[in-house]
């Protein structure tokens, strides 16, 4: 069995993004997706701190500290990009103008719920950032995450146990073991399995029923 690497997970998600979409990428593996979209395929990356049209990471020696993304990494702006303030930036997000948001996750449920910001109701100062705005506002919500926790507990679940970030909005999950669609009224549908992994093995590592295309 060959689980996908983080780069492969990012590349798989990147391959599914068509030209012209406006895309917001969360911190972590989602951020890596941008590196796998060729510049010729014009995808407009938005960052909630008011940057629309981010380009690749700056070349060594050409970094501009006044230009960062939501993960606080230095980035570039491509021709056609623009800046705005936080209220205008979240107008784009809340107003449904972002075609796709890709976030990391603690758990995704078969009803499309996402938990990714707190691990208990009494979490020590949980940090939500823009995840709830993105989860509720983007036209599509994809999640990229490991299929299980480090100690092997499934993150693909029937119902989220952790506090929710967004309700019913996740439509696809990319993990190190599979790509799953979330179909309303049905649940998880397998699109792709890592090489050498059987459906039964994948099901065993998941806590919700996995369907296959009819």
């Amino acid at each position: 069995m060959q689980p996908y690497t983080r780069a492969e997970m990012a590349a798989k998600a990147a391959a599914d993004i068509p030209e012209g979409w406006v895309v917001n990428l969360g911190i972590g593996i989602p951020t890596m997706i941008a590196d796998h979209v060729p510049l010729e395929r014009e995808v407009i990356f938005q960052s909630e701190n008011g940057v629309l049209g981010m380009g690749p990471a700056p070349e060594k020696g050409r970094e501009d500290p006044w230009l960062i993304n939501a993960g606080k990494q230095m980035v570039t702006l491509r021709p056609g990009g623009s800046f705005c303030h936080h209220a205008d930036s979240f107008s784009m997000i809340r107003g449904g103008h972002i075609d796709l948001c890709v976030l990391g996750g603690f758990e995704v449920a078969e009803n499309g719920d996402l938990a990714n910001w707190a691990t208990s109701e009494n979490d020590t100062a949980p940090a939500v950032g823009g995840a709830m705005d993105l989860g509720a506002g983007a036209k599509r919500l994809w999640v990229v995450m490991e299929h299980t926790t480090k100690d092997g507990r499934p993150k693909i679940v029937e119902r989220c146990g952790y506090p929710l970030t967004a309700l019913g909005n996740v439509s696809r999950v990319y993990t190190n073991l599979a790509v799953l669609d979330v179909v309303q009224g049905l649940g998880f549908v397998v699109r792709d399995i890592a090489p050498g992994l059987s459906l039964e093995e994948l099901q065993a590592k998941s806590a919700a029923k996995l369907h296959t295309r009819a």
Binding site: G20, I44, L52, P79, S91, R94, H97, G137
Partner: protein, 226 residues
């Protein structure tokens, strides 16, 4: 390659449906998308709800659209102005619906639609005829009315410059309702004076990012009174 530039006004207006809500930018003649309004007259959609600050003047543009019987309802702040002859005639005869909205509430209702805010409270119009039938609530001892987002199917806007991603800049008071309406519509169509190469517009100066714009057409409009 993303390219929102279309070659003709007819292409720009293609697909506007009967019954659509059309947001029309401009304040006075400044920032008014004249060529797009003419294009809409040609295009033929009817039973329209038009949102604009005024209700048209003379017998051209929006007034002409109304005179042709294509406008079911107008939502505006200032219907009665010098030369709003067509509107006044239709209104007297009961042939057009009117919703008067205070100018700031009109702008904010569209901004709200664009920003994913379904409703907001404002002190504007509290205790007046225009607050009738609206929910009222007190915050910190002051009364406010609840106003709902106003969304368009189509926005017709006028801008100064555009690039192929649909980024727009405006010229002075030509900004007015245009950026707000661009946010609020499903399909935003911009008539611009100048097409620039991608990257030519200053990223600090773009007043309507391309994310809000679906189609751009260049129209040599000259001065706004033309």
């Amino acid at each position: 390659m993303i390219n929102k530039i279309v070659q003709s006004v007819a292409d720009a207006l293609a697909g506007v449906k009967d019954g659509a809500t059309v947001l029309i930018g401009g304040f006075g003649s400044v920032g008014q998308p004249d060529a797009l309004i003419e294009g809409l007259i040609e295009q033929g959609a009817k039973d329209l709800t038009c949102v604009a600050n005024n209700a048209g003047t003379g017998r051209v543009g929006l007034a002409r659209l109304m005179e042709l019987g294509r406008v079911r309802k107008i939502i505006c702040s200032f219907p009665r102005s010098a030369g709003s002859v067509v509107f006044e005639e239709l209104y007297r005869e009961g042939k057009i619906e009117l919703e008067i909205v205070p100018q700031g509430t009109l702008a904010e209702r569209m901004r709200a639609a664009g920003a994913g805010i379904p409703a907001f409270y404002t002190a504007t119009a509290v205790g007046t005829l225009l607050a009738r039938g609206k929910d009222e609530r007190e915050f910190n001892g002051r009364k406010y009315v609840l106003e709902q987002a106003l969304k368009g199917d189509v926005a017709l806007v006028e801008a100064w410059e555009a690039d192929r991603w649909g980024n727009l800049t405006y010229n002075q008071s030509g900004r007015n309702f245009n950026p707000v309406m661009a946010m609020a519509a499903e399909t935003t169509i911009a008539q611009v004076q100048h097409i620039r190469e991608l990257g030519e517009l200053s990223p600090e100066l773009v007043a309507t990012p391309g994310i809000y714009v679906q189609r751009v057409v260049r129209v040599d409009r000259g001065a706004p009174w033309v």
